[in-house]
């Protein structure tokens, strides 16, 4: 509990500075409707969420609440039906309209981690990280060094030359995390990244996100079901039926 308290204080301190900053991401009045008529599903219903730089937010909610839809909308791979997405102060999506080249933007500013590691099977662990750097115009040699640094940092430097097939689920997921962090993104989005991991590994990954957020001042949003690791988050946001619950409606991290 002491650890949580100090984490909370630390978090508050960060929040103070974050307030003066431009938020890492703002989703304003975002609505997403799938299908029409009989099959219409309102997956997001007027959702507004701001995440500051350096802030680590957990997104909780039952299955079908719309968490993945919100995350992919913010990740610029699933355009909202209406509402705005502003990243680093720049209006990126206005309804379904992209205001900039999304792929370039993703490459430069966003990092993703998914439930599955989604590594490229014909590339080694090192190359899976390296490729993210190289497509962002990092020279091969520098890309290699940074990829190696990240893998070392994540404790899998010794597996750098292995293909994904030869890695355990946890190791694969850590490679995916390294890939997400490779280009120093200003926003990291993770959708149930620890679902395939045991609780110890899961917690390690969560702590890593927190560490990166604090060290490199990136906003982090993590969708998770794992209530055991919640104390690493600065803030917890809950969703239900396509809406965010008011802060009073959810219980704080400290009580878990």
């Amino acid at each position: 509990m002491e650890g949580n308290a100090s984490r909370a204080e630390h978090g508050i301190g960060l929040m103070d500075t974050a307030m003066e900053q431009v938020p890492a991401i703002e989703a304003i009045g975002v609505t997403k409707v799938y299908g029409h008529g009989q099959t219409e599903v309102i997956a997001l219903n007027d959702v507004t969420l701001r995440v500051a730089r350096g802030e680590v937010v957990a997104l909780l909610g039952p299955s079908g609440a719309g968490k993945s839809t919100l995350l992919t909308a913010m990740a610029l791979i699933n355009p909202p039906t209406s509402g705005q997405i502003i990243i680093g102060g720049e209006l990126v999506m206005d309804g379904e309209d992209a205001k900039i080249d999304l792929r370039t933007f993703r490459r430069k500013h966003l990092g993703f981690v998914f439930q599955k590691a989604n590594l490229i099977p014909f590339l080694t662990a090192l190359e899976n990280v390296q490729v993210a750097l190289e497509i962002n115009d990092t020279p091969a040699h520098a890309a290699r060094e940074r990829a190696m640094y990240l893998l070392d940092h994540l404790g899998i430097g010794d597996r750098a030359g292995n293909l994904p097939d030869a890695l355990s689920g946890g190791q694969q997921q850590r490679v995916a995390v390294a890939r997400a962090l490779a280009n120093n993104p200003s926003l990291i989005l993770a959708d149930e990244p620890t679902a395939a991991l045991d609780s110890h590994r899961g917690r390690q990954v969560m702590e890593l996100f927190a560490q990166v957020a604090h060290e490199s001042n990136a906003g982090v949003i993590v969708v998770t079901h794992d209530v055991r690791a919640l104390e690493v988050f600065d803030r917890i946001v809950e969703m239900e039926d396509g809406r965010l619950l008011a802060p009073s409606e959810h219980t704080g991290a400290g009580t878990h």
Binding site: S68, T72, I77, N78, R103, T104, F105, R106, R107, K108, L110, F112, F114, N118, I120, P121, F122, L123, E127, Q130, V131, A132, E134, I135, N136, A140, A143, L163, R179, D191
Partner: protein, 403 residues
């Protein structure tokens, strides 16, 4: 980092099998071009090597290769009498098929106007040129005859005294060189019984007529060899080869010969063109059509394999898009694989060809311009074949990664 090569390494066996298949197809295409060159080479070998400036053939014919040409041997002397003509030779050339050691032996009989033409233009790999007027032959190696071997044609036995290599006629049969008179003897060989009957018939016809009965000498001649009867037509040859003084005005001699109503004259180049437009042209089109078909098939195979290879990694391509890879990265991944497949297929085709083509029954000649052309075609079809995969890759949405 090269994604194409890494994916190939990962999918090596499938890639290798397809490449081998493409390689074999390209080898056949390469072989087609080579066979065509070989056809031209074989068809024109004689005309090119025999070194005649003019070909005098039967009037109004395109002989002796495109059609039958028959002219009397004494034309040789008439031509020789022209100014500036330094040499006139009879041309006798025909294909025969005989049994030899129980196996069919097909050869093209080429007469040499011995002793005038001893066959200096035929390069020997073993033995010696013809040394006597009869019963010797110089054979091409492809006929499988050994030096000193005896072969029976008609009523005579010929001995192989020299061997050549790479000398074959229009139909691809190996050439065998004889003196002109031997070549004619082989050509006009008639069974003894037929000759005996012919002589008996002549004797009977002459004996039934007054002048036959009145002149015993005539009767005696009628029952003998046909060459002894001046009234019978002289033996004929296919053409007369004319060599001119290097300083001679060719056109003037041609116009002189053109006034002879019983012959037609061609330059060596015209003879060459006649050969190619007649015999070779249809084969060329045939081979060309096959090549085009095979190239289309190769394109389809590469396209299908590129498509399935792309489908196999469509998830990875979506991921690349998701993490922001430019289209260039994805296009070059597919394009490079197609090009690598084409390049290795081509290399394999060439390499295999070096070993296999010499065993083909007809000459296969790989010429650099043809090889370059096929290389460019391979690059082109590889690019074309990658379009389907590229199209598929361009359409995939990055969020399919999440599905």
């Amino acid at each position: 980092m090269n994604l194409a090569v890494r994916d190939i390494r990962h999918n090596f066996s499938r890639f290798a099998f397809t490449t081998v298949g493409i390689g074999l197809l390209l080898m056949v295409v390469m072989g087609m071009a080579g066979i065509y060159r070989g056809l031209i080479f074989e068809a024109t070998l004689l005309v090119d090597r025999i070194g005649a400036d003019l070909w005098v053939v039967q009037g109004n014919t395109r002989g002796p290769f495109a059609e039958l040409s028959r002219i009397p041997v004494n034309l040789e002397d008439r031509v020789r009498a022209l100014p500036e003509v330094i040499r006139a030779r009879r041309f006798v050339n025909h294909s025969i098929q005989r049994e030899h050691h129980g196996k069919p032996l097909r050869l093209m009989v080429q007469g040499l106007a011995w002793p005038d033409d001893k066959g200096e233009w035929v390069s020997l790999v073993a033995g010696r040129p013809l040394g006597q007027a009869h019963f010797e032959m110089v054979a091409d190696r492809s006929l499988g005859l050994a030096l000193g071997e005896q072969v029976t044609f008609g009523k005579d036995v010929y001995r192989v005294v020299g061997l050549t290599t790479g000398m074959s006629g229009i139909a691809g049969d190996g050439l065998a060189f004889f003196t002109v008179s031997d070549a004619m003897a082989i050509q006009f060989d008639t069974p003894s019984e037929a000759i005996r009957l012919e002589r008996a018939a002549r004797l009977a016809r002459t004996g039934n007529q007054d002048f036959g009965r009145a002149q015993p000498l005539l009767l005696e001649r009628a029952g003998g060899a046909s060459s002894g009867i001046s009234e019978l037509p002289q033996p004929q040859v296919s053409a007369i080869l004319v060599s001119l003084n290097p300083s001679a005005d060719v056109n003037k001699i041609i116009s002189t010969l053109s006034t002879w109503s019983d012959v037609t004259v061609y330059t060596a180049q015209q003879q060459r063109d006649l050969l190619l437009s007649g015999t070779v042209d249809k084969s060329r089109r045939q081979l060309g059509l096959f090549s085009v078909l095979l190239i289309i098939i190769s394109t389809i195979i590469i396209a299908l394999i590129m498509y399935t290879l792309t489908l196999d990694k469509i998830h990875d391509i979506a991921l690349l898009k998701l993490i922001g890879a430019r289209n260039r990265v994805i296009v070059s991944l597919i394009l490079q694989q197609a090009l690598i497949m084409g390049a290795f297929g081509y290399g394999l085709a060439w390499w295999l060809g070096q070993y296999l083509f010499p065993y083909f029954p007809r000459r296969v000649m790989l010429e650099t311009p043809d090889l370059i052309k096929l290389a460019m075609i391979t690059v082109l079809i590889s690019m074309l074949a990658s379009l389907l995969g590229i199209w598929k890759a361009m359409r995939v949405e990055p969020n399919t990664v999440l599905a």
